[in-house]
């Protein structure tokens, strides 16, 4: 027994080292580890999302075993974690190329990966097997913090912060050793903010108004400020790498995006302070600044499409470029348009806390963040296979990546529209007509329009997960046996 336990770490490590490829540098080997765990978690995310979606249609399903709350928590936590894994992996991926030197403290970075992955495994097992605890601090420390998106128990919070410090040391140390650039400067400062914000979610408060005030610091200032800038950096690097965009141009764009995104997103935080007990002035501040948030998202669409057009859509990697374009449109639609639709307080009074938010949440997280990670997975697999051809004329005309992309996008868009209809119906029936009482809530839930929307969501959910299965299959097979080398780009 003892020997099995002591042999376990080596066994686990050997599973991951089997992913090593002779074509990659040290940071990229580590990135592939992050990407593979991210993919597994992506699948888990959709699986538990489906369980929760089935419960909307058949409430007795798994009742008392895996209740809606458990499935939903795993669904959104798996999402946050896999997206972060993807981001961390992407940064490790380009760290050496961008800095022109080897990664500082790579060994520590590798250890941090195993620590983090072990912690995530334990947290998920506790979510599934223990689920809830007594109303004491010990539950918050060891089982579940009970705050949406950041449910991870406190012990894990400290683990996450420690791992983030190692990651940060790898990033800042490497750039300090090698060379700095516009991208790396923005990236490093952004990572400080991203990690620092997490600490705003790490304490208990009885005052629920103050509690939610800080909770939104983490959630909003992540997805509408620091994550946006992080993917801005990843995009900037990807455009240079994929289509040979000029550094000067992408960096200028990056600064413009930082100015517009932080300039609107930081005070746009106020759109979450309309109804939680915070003062009235947040109506104007939150409404005004968040209404400006779509501007940088439009700018990103213009930037990527223009740059790709200038280079005649010639790219080293067609699937990756297609997913980058999907990212810019998804970000604009999901965050920019869907966000704008309910961001003014006069509208939000009726949409707040309805399926409206879920509609926006799905399109925004998928459109802005899942897409760019998928793009990066394709770039990674290309080099992993030995920098092989991934332009047009793939075997089978690249049907797998094209169908995976179509199914995933149609699936998520379909769910988004179904939830939007459900949200409208709730705004009218539950909020406007019935004044949001419990019986008003259930009138809206029982209405055929709502029920139909839930069935459509389930159907499109199945399409989404079918797309993911195909995507994983494609990532595991694309470029296998390919002998043509990747397209060489002449730096313009």
């Amino acid at each position: 027994m003892n020997s099995i336990v002591t042999a376990l770490p080596g066994k686990i490590a050997s599973v991951f080292t089997r992913l090593d490829s002779p074509y990659l540098n040290g940071g990229q080997q580590l990135a592939v580890k992050y990407f593979s765990v991210a993919t597994v978690l992506f699948f888990a995310q959709l699986l538990f999302g489906l369980l929760a979606a089935i419960q909307f249609v058949a409430p007795g399903f798994l009742f008392g075993w895996l209740d809606f709350s458990v499935n939903r928590m795993v669904h959104i936590n798996a999402m946050v974690v896999w997206l972060l894994y993807g981001f961390i992996g992407s940064v490790y991926w380009f760290l050496e190329e961008e800095s022109g030197t080897e990664i500082a403290g790579l060994k520590l970075g590798n250890i941090a990966f195993y620590v983090l992955t072990g912690a995530v495994t334990i947290v998920v097992l506790v979510y599934l097997l223990i689920q809830t605890g007594p109303g004491k601090d010990s539950t918050i420390w060891f089982i579940n913090e009970g705050r949406e998106y950041i449910e991870a128990p406190r012990w894990a919070d400290f683990g996450i912060v420690a791992v983030m410090l190692v990651f940060f040391y790898n990033v800042a140390g490497t750039f300090m050793k090698g060379r700095w650039s516009g991208i790396s400067g923005v990236l490093t400062l952004d990572l400080i903010a991203l990690a620092g914000l997490y600490c705003a979610g790490m304490f208990y408060l009885t005052n629920i108004t103050a509690d939610q005030f800080w909770w939104w610091w983490v959630i909003h200032l992540w997805v509408e400020a620091t994550w946006e800038v992080l993917v801005g950096c990843i995009m900037a690097w990807s455009l240079m790498h994929l289509i040979g965009a000029r550094r000067k141009i992408v960096q200028t764009w990056l600064y413009i995006e930082v100015a517009l995104m932080f300039g609107s997103g930081i005070l746009g935080l106020g759109h979450h302070y309309f109804w939680i007990g915070t003062p009235d002035y947040w109506f104007s501040i939150g409404g005004f600044f968040s209404a400006l948030e779509p501007i940088p998202l439009v700018a990103m669409v213009v930037h990527s499409v223009y740059d790709a057009g200038v280079h005649q859509f010639k790219s080293r990697n067609h699937p990756a470029l297609a997913w980058i374009i999907a990212h810019t449109f998804g970000n604009f639609l999901g965050a920019g348009v869907w966000g704008f639709m309910h961001t003014l307080p006069q509208i939000n009074l009726y949409t707040h806390g309805t399926q409206w938010s879920a509609s926006h949440g799905h399109l925004a997280f998928f459109g802005a963040y899942a897409t760019i990670n998928i793009a990066f997975f394709y770039m990674a697999v290309q080099k992993w296979r030995g920098n092989v051809w991934m332009g047009g004329e793939l075997p089978g005309n690249g049907w797998k990546w094209k169908w995976a992309m179509a199914l995933l996008n149609i699936g998520v868009l379909g769910m988004t529209v179904a939830l939007l209809i459900a949200g409208y119906e709730q705004s009218f029936i539950e909020r406007a007509v019935e004044g949001s009482t419990w019986s008003g809530y259930f009138s809206a839930q029982n209405h055929p329009w709502f029920q139909q929307a839930m069935h459509w969501r389930l159907l499109f959910g199945l399409i989404t997960i079918a797309g993911l299965v195909l995507l994983i299959w494609d990532l595991m097979t694309i470029g296998k046996g390919e002998t043509r080398p990747a397209l060489q780009l002449s730096e313009a």
């Binding site: 209740d67 705050r147 009885t206 930081i266 806390g353």
Partner: protein, 199 residues
């Protein structure tokens, strides 16, 4: 490349703008945060003292503000027993921790935030579903301790699972819900008819 970059597209200029805009926004946010936190401290006008659970609470349309607002009324101690501020805080804290430990927020919304599988808890204390003030406390306690047995799913088939909430925790949760219903949420939810209106 021979062409010169126009001034508006200069990388160095945008770098400066980015730094100043970010720093300026952040400083403003920090300032507003201090102001907001001082205005939402427990015991103020927006977030009431925990001992507000000793009072009758209602939620009515306020003609002057043109929106719904909480109304604090005469003495009406929770569970028939007036508590000191410290005792009330202890009870509400137990309730708040229980809502986190039982993961309420992944089915319900609180102050409108959370999940959408079950009704909003912001004004749960005032909901007409509890019939009237005389029945409310007992109905709530019984429900929390055995939600599946006392299911109130309004024909939806959705039931709340038994979460192992103890008698003590149930008292805490009811206290927390009563206290939360007195928070001034700027008129959200709109047009909500409390169980007092119905009487």
């Amino acid at each position: 490349m021979g062409q010169t970059t126009p001034a508006w597209a200069s990388e160095a200029r945008w770098k400066k703008i980015a730094i100043w805009v970010t720093a300026g926004s952040f400083v403003l946010l920090v300032f507003l945060t201090f102001d907001t936190l001082s205005k939402v401290s427990v015991g103020g006008e927006r977030v009431r003292a925990y001992s507000v659970i000793n009072k009758e609470i209602d939620y009515r349309y306020d003609e002057k503000q043109k929106r719904f607002a909480p109304v604090i009324g005469k003495d009406a101690p929770l569970f028939g027993q007036a508590l000191s501020e410290e005792e009330a805080e202890k009870l509400v804290m137990l309730g708040k921790k229980t809502t986190q430990a039982k993961n309420c927020m992944n089915c319900h919304t609180l102050l409108g935030n959370g999940a959408y599988y079950a009704p909003d808890l912001t004004k749960a204390w005032l909901d007409p579903g509890w019939i009237d003030a005389a029945n409310r406390e007992n109905l709530m306690l019984a429900f929390l301790k055995d939600p599946a047995g006392n299911a109130r799913s309004f024909g939806s088939g959705r039931r709340m699972p038994n979460l192992g909430i103890t008698d003590e925790e149930a008292h805490g949760v009811v206290a927390f819900l009563k206290w939360m219903s007195a928070i001034d949420t700027n008129g959200f939810p709109n047009n909500f008819k409390t169980l007092n209106t119905k009487e």
